[in-house]
Subunit: 138 residues, 4 copies
């Protein structure tokens, strides 16, 4: 299946006293992949958040840590579509450490659209779903 991939370099401030990337920072890598993907699709996340009545919280996040990343390691985050439903999208995520040539982590995040006023999940915008669906089906 098609993937969306970004390249990053581990920042010093992302490490902890065990000399490796702190486990919480992998979720920031996942987020970077997700939001860069929306950019790539031409979907203006920032503007949508400001001007519509929707926001797009993550309702679930998971990660298994397989091999550590250290400062300045080159990494790739690969994102694929795990599930696309009326009200939620689940993306699988993989962090590949290019420097060590090992898979560093695997996980997923699940995203929904929430109506700011009623505070509940609503159907994802149709054009958004279509663009995501089209990308991953190619």
């Amino acid at each position: 299946m098609r993937e969306f991939k970004i390249k990053l370099k581990v920042a010093w401030h992302e490490t902890d006293a065990a000399n490796v990337v702190h486990f919480s920072n992998y979720f920031k890598y996942f987020e970077r992949a997700e939001l860069d993907f929306y950019d790539y699709l031409g979907f203006n996340y920032a503007k949508t958040l400001k001007n519509s009545n929707l926001w797009f919280p993550r309702v679930e996040a998971h990660c298994r840590y397989l091999s550590p990343c250290e400062f300045n390691d080159d990494i790739e985050v690969m994102m694929s579509l795990a599930e696309l439903k009326e009200k939620s999208i689940k993306y699988n995520m993989k962090v590949f450490n290019v420097t060590t040539q090992k898979v560093s982590a695997e996980g997923y995040i699940t995203v929904v659209a929430v109506d700011k006023k009623i505070g509940r999940a609503v159907p994802l915008p149709a054009d958004f779903v279509q663009a995501i669906s089209k990308y991953f089906s190619q």
Copy 2:
């Protein structure tokens, strides 16, 4: 079952532009509960990391987000023992938002002991396992 509980207050820098705690920061709350628990048990995590050949990485982390936390909300992190094996411990975590009186998040982390030299999981220190086991069985 017995729990270990800590109280926190949401920091401003933990929020994001959606006006809620960023999803990655819940894992920092989980960590705070875990490491405060070791303090409570009298287990010197920092010293053990420095002086022994072991470190204690998280090999898995998971969170479901149920209700947001905002700046200055009072929260409680409740930790319970999900599984204690020879080489791994799994803690269930719950974040309760005292301000809104709602469960904000539920998740878990799994911790192992790794030998720094061989880079592989080894049995957890016996006194560590005993202390954890004793706490949660009371």
Copy 3:
């Protein structure tokens, strides 16, 4: 002069691969002192941000690092008033490492009130200035 003081314990995720608190995190300690101070004064920062047309950005921040903090060190952040003007407040900050009994850092932050619509600094709310002034003059 009177100070406002908070107690913190260094979190694991605040350290970096040099085994000490990352230099950027001291500014989070400064912020914690500032915002806890407003709480102490009974000034509802979160509510004011939401309901008024003001926000209170930092326009300047400075820190000199004197002695490192490590994971789990007990620290105190001492805040004092350096300058109180019509449109800005400058707080001096000191981080004392209780564990090592050394001053870890000294710095300051300067805060202004900005009108959200015109995007420019305006006079600080009178009751806010009064409460701050009263606290530090005692």
Copy 4:
């Protein structure tokens, strides 16, 4: 004078509930510029930290905030040499917001070399000083 410049894009997790980049995160941008610069010079920071008896802490950091950055803004961090002494380097930093075409922040960081064993500042490595000096004098 010659500058060293990096390009970044504001990450979602770098914002706070005021909808702008949290003030502490500018110091992470400064760090990124500094460490990317060492990469550019061919100086292996990570390896030096591991294999030598030196580390390179920041002993001072300063920032003035002029105009906010929001999520996904394109920014440039420009670094120039303010002072190069036997035992310390001071870099001036400027964050330019390409999206708004405004200077977002100006500041500096001062870096020293510390002998890990004696815990005191020592002369910076000669080849390091030379490479930095050469870059900025061109």
